[in-house]
């Protein structure tokens, strides 16, 4: 967003970081314990781990780049 205040990208970063972290955490648990949800396909690809990781990294990037107070720097 133009002007002062918290940019929308910061909110998006926070949400992606939280969601990515949750998916990644669950994916690692699932991988560690081998307890995969029944009826879900392609579990051997460990989708929550890499997709959760991608979302978390993207979220972290946005949180750092658009953190409040950094505007204009």
């Amino acid at each position: 967003m133009h002007g002062s205040g918290i940019p929308i990208w910061f909110f998006i970063g926070v949400l992606l970081l939280i969601y990515g972290g949750m998916a990644l955490g669950y994916g690692l648990y699932e991988w560690q314990t081998g307890s995969y949800p029944p009826l879900v396909e392609l579990t051997k690809l460990h989708t929550p781990v890499w997709w959760g990781g991608v979302l978390a990294l993207l979220g972290l990037f946005y949180v750092v780049k658009f953190r409040p107070g950094r505007a204009g720097k």
Binding site: G3, L16, M22, L42, T47
Partner: protein
């Protein structure tokens, strides 16, 4: 937006889903619930945060006109990326193949480029708050009032339909109570739009855009891995089509090749309807005159950003079929019944006809049998449905996307996918309610009820109109729930209204001779004409052949041809009345009409920040995609 959706047909029969008692498609775990809860906390946090920045009318209704091109562009495309669209188009791709992509490419891209490069300067330079506001400046209060009342009614009812559709989807997918979904979503929307105004709605649309990609992108990626890539998908669809229809046809993979006749393609449309009806009238009508989307671009911080926003949006629009059309096609080959056989989806009419009674048996076997006989469901499977076998379920085309999500997304990621759908529905409601608030305050209340209010008074009216709008939407949602047929009429409002509005605005913007009376009468009579065509086909279904000019035309063709005739009718009225009445002096048309306006000079920028360079790239990509999938 419903007007661009064959979901006009699919979604119109969504209520029928309620009649079919079946197990929810998905069972959420605690992690999924947490993902959904966090989304609600976030949107309410954003609403409270933005309240302090929505104190003046310019801030509340126009988001302070300080959005960057990226935010305005993402919000612009997101306003048309609601969940009904996602589910409806995925279902249409399952039924019709990549022909459904026309609604994303020719049905959007040319109009978005035209809006950015040609029309935006006039909207922006005249500093209007709304599309009816532009009509007021160009044609006077009569045209403004017709447009404002039409918009206001359409938006508030659409918001109710969106609310109800979300509740139905949540009921079918998750088993949630209808009233619970309606009230939770309405309260959240009322809080965040009522507090933050348009800025809050725009923030949530951008958020929704990111969530939809984050939640839905995995489906095509994993689906393509499982089918062995695009080549494998095509091979398997061809095999399935042959087993279902006995025809070895690759029509599912061609955008244009088989549109030379109504009967040669699965959608029953002709290229003339696609190009002139969809690609021109409906598409230009929606993307250049529908206030809900245009309002997002009017919030841009300068003219260059306002012009760039639709162009940025067009790149994303071209990419959307990857998360919508592809999952529908993948569903054709990947979805399975519990016994491992290939699952065939059917229309909502079939699902409704096979409603189970409390004993688990089909309530009306004859109706169910007749409905299923028109499908390609195997005879053995039809028998199992009729006998009430517990694993013999019927699922509709609209469920293609949720079924694919359930197939690939485990705990957490499924919550994200469901959150994306909820966000899509809620931002659809928020968009309609915020646009309603602006039109009500600026184009109805201010000119017709109280011309002398203070700025803070109008902000208060805006906030109250959001609360009232949400309340009326709830009423509309329950009305639709109890009188299902109303949904068809509500969804038709947009398609009835858009063509005459487009003719009025295009002639107003590009023809200095167009007069005040001509604008008013073209809009009013055009709406009456369009509504009459709609009612004619509704009451006499065989009239479709006359409206679409072919006995082979299917309902999908009706919208595009009705829009085309309504546009032509309104244009004729406008030209004839203009020639019979006195035009305004050219000096009064400054800032409103091409040829009478000196546009502000824009600072030169490097080519990579120039809107024309990006528009050229869009045009090249658009042409290439159409040729590749010819």
């Amino acid at each position: 937006m419903f007007g661009l959706v064959p979901a006009l047909h699919n979604a119109g029969s969504l209520p029928a889903l309620l009649a079919f008692s079946t197990e929810p498609l998905a069972h959420l775990r605690a992690l999924d619930i947490a993902v959904i809860a966090i989304y609600f906390v976030m949107v309410i946090w954003i609403g409270f945060y933005l309240k302090g920045r929505s104190n003046t009318s310019e801030e509340f209704f126009m988001a302070g006109r300080e959005m960057t091109a990226w935010i305005a562009g993402l919000s612009f495309v997101s306003a048309n990326l609601g969940s009904l669209e996602l589910m409806g188009w995925a279902g249409s791709a399952y039924q019709y193949g990549i022909l459904a992509t026309h609604w994303y490419w020719i049905g959007a891209i040319p109009a978005m480029i035209f809006l950015g490069l040609v029309m935006m300067p006039f909207y922006y330079v005249c500093k209007t708050h709304s599309v009816p506001g532009y009509l007021d400046l160009r044609f006077g209060g009569g045209a403004r009032s017709v447009a404002a009342f039409s918009f206001a009614i359409e938006m508030i009812l659409m918001s109710g339909v969106n609310m109800f559709a979300m509740a139905v989807v949540m009921k079918v997918v998750l088993g949630w109570d209808i009233s619970f979904s309606i009230f939770v979503s309405s309260i959240a929307v009322a809080i965040y739009v009522g507090l933050g105004g348009l800025r809050s709605a725009i923030f949530n649309e951008v958020l929704q855009f990111v969530l939809i990609w984050g939640g839905a992108l995995l489906v095509p990626i994993l689906g393509l891995i499982q089918t062995g890539g695009v080549g494998g998908l095509k091979r398997q669809i061809m095999v399935n089509m042959q087993s279902m229809t006995g025809v070895h046809s690759d029509s599912y993979f061609h955008l244009w090749r088989d549109t030379g006749s109504f009967a040669a393609n699965p959608m029953g449309v002709h290229w003339t309807g696609i190009v002139f009806g969809l690609g021109f009238v409906i598409s230009f009508g929606y993307w250049t005159t529908d206030f809900l989307v245009v309002q997002r671009v009017l919030a841009a911080h300068n003219l260059r950003a306002a012009r760039m926003a639709p162009i940025i949006a067009s790149f994303f629009k071209m990419a959307v079929p990857f998360i919508v059309i592809l999952p529908g096609l993948l569903g054709l080959v990947l979805l399975q019944n519990p016994d491992g056989s290939r699952r065939q989806l059917v229309g909502e009419d079939v699902v409704a006809a096979c409603t189970a009674s409390s004993s688990g048996q089909v309530a009306d076997s004859a109706a169910c049998s007749a409905a299923m006989s028109k499908t390609s469901l195997p005879a053995a499977y039809q028998q199992r449905v009729l006998s009430g076998a517990p694993d013999a379920e019927l699922h509709s085309y609209n469920q293609a996307l949720p079924l694919m999500m359930v197939r690939y997304l485990g705990p957490g990621l499924l919550g994200l996918g469901i959150t994306a759908l909820i966000a899509g529905f809620m931002s659809g409601m928020a968009g309609n309610v915020s646009a309603f608030s602006t039109v009500w305050t600026y184009d109805i209340y201010k000119p017709l009820i109280n011309k002398k209010g203070s700025d803070s008074h109008y902000v208060l009216v805006g906030r109250l109109s959001i609360l009232i709008g949400v309340a009326v939407s709830i009423g509309a949602a329950y009305l639709v729930m109890h009188a299902h047929g109303i949904m068809d009429y509500v969804q038709a409002l947009f398609s009835i209204f858009v063509a005459p509005l487009l003719a009025t605005i295009l002639f107003g913007m590009f023809w200095k001779r167009a007069t005040k009376w001509a604008g008013f009468l073209a809009l009013l009579l055009g709406i009456v004409f369009s509504a009459s065509l709609f009612m004619w086909v509704k009451l006499v279904p065989s009239a479709l052949a006359s409206v679409a000019l072919s006995p082979d035309a299917k309902p999908m063709a009706e919208n595009v041809f009705r829009a085309l005739w309504a546009f032509v009718f309104a244009a004729i009225v406008l030209v004839v009345v203009s020639l019979l009445t006195k035009p305004r002096p050219v000096a009064e048309l400054d800032g409103l009409v091409y040829g009478a306006t000196v546009l502000p000079k824009e600072e030169p920028v490097p080519f990579y920040r120039n809107e024309y360079a990006w528009a050229l790239l869009v045009v090249v990509l658009f042409a290439a995609l159409n040729m590749i999938f010819w």
